[in-house]
Amino acid sequence: MPEFTIAVQRGEAEAESQWTDYIVDVEEGQVVLDVIHRIQATEAPDLAVRWNCKAGKCGSCSAEINGKPRLMCMTRMNLFDPAEKITVAPMKTWPLIRDLVTDVGFNYETAEKIPAVKLGEPSEDGDFRMHQEDVERGQEFRKCIECFLCSDVCHVIRDHPENKENFFGPRFFVRLAELDMHPLDQEDRIDLVKNDAGVGYCNITKCCTEACPEDIHITDNAIIPLKERVIDSSYDPIRWIGRKIAGK
């Protein structure tokens, strides 16, 4: 069994955090979260880490492994070279609570700012009618497990925390795109997308897409289409002329 050196960032405030090295034997098929659990069970019972399903379905165990935002439960140890030290750090965009656990409350507060879905009346038989091709785009977005890695890696708030007041982050553009493309939803959220959510802050460098463990094409399928919908309402000269002519 190969032996790895794992450096875990430990502490309660970033400035005072320290790297602690653990030398661990790794068994076949193990993931980073297994290793963290073993450190917990043997060397550091108070090592704080958030996790639930250990199968890439709940999005709890987000961290930065060798600087890359990843789910610890889906990162196999055989990705790494035993000769190189592996770093495991908490997500940087959210305030640190302790060790690998961060305060992701920003995302829960943001979720409340998005008006809920509002459907019209169902068909006469009581069922809503939606066709598969109409729900497919939304289904891609609803794969989101809310690991918040996309918003963690997004430099708009990662490097400029003051933008959190004006920018919802990629996770919520995915949510807004889902609602806006819902075939039966009747709420208009484009002003929200443009203003409060701050889609203009995104400069589409696609790091969110690269980080997404669910392979949601966040930039191409959610953010750019939202930017285009904002262009429809605010920036397209031909549509503007069209609206003037139609007297709207």
Binding site: A7, S17, G67, Y201, N203, C207, D236
Partner: protein, 268 residues
Amino acid sequence: MVQALASLPGTARGFMQTLRTDRWWVEPALVFVSMSLFFGWLTVSILMDFGPLGHYEVEGTHFLSPVFEPTWLSAINADWSGAWYLSPAFIVLLGPVPFRATCYYYRRAYYRSFFFSPPGCAVGDVGETYKGEAKLPLIMQNAHRFFMYIALIFVPLLWIGAIRSLHVPGEGWGIGLGSAFLLLNAFLLMMYTFSCHSLRHFIGGGLNCFSCSKVTRTRKRLWDYVTTFNERHRLWAWSSLLVIVFVDIYIRLVANGYITDPNTWSKF
């Protein structure tokens, strides 16, 4: 066996700071070099009607560098030497250049490679404050839609130019390597335009119900095509850029007599 030791790299905040251990800088560095070379050459080409590579059209033919399409403009303004601002190639500044400059793919590429905003994912970006495309000047990127409309006009123009090159006055129809390059160029430019994110939205992406009518079902089918192309937008962006630079150089080499184009005509 687990043992605790102490060690210390930093927490990696600040410009270019990261804990990434992979060679994340390779891609932006390659993009920087390639874009500098390609766009640098095109800038030179637009202005260059003198010197050893001054001719951009093979005399007596419709064999013309695509940078200078459409041909009717260069015909009107055939003798523009001395007045750089009258270069017939300046028409590309109305459509193709801003179309590329505001392209969602190129934006990603140059924001990373030229503006370090950010230089790589999870790598510290440049500058104290950041407003992105929410404020001037970058809010102008929203004009991409408008430039897309113009770029659509260039698709047939480039095809016409490429097909015209197959006809040499006095000799009739034929084919040559240079014409094949022009056809390839027109094809790639078309694919680049047809894979555009704005077009994808325009053609069907803006709909919320695809199944609602015959028209929306048709638009959904077109949207599916554009979506397939769009997944390779980066490929089309680079290949069309590479080929236009290559064709421009090739035609200048032929037009200035350095090489001979293998073809079915006798004239050149």
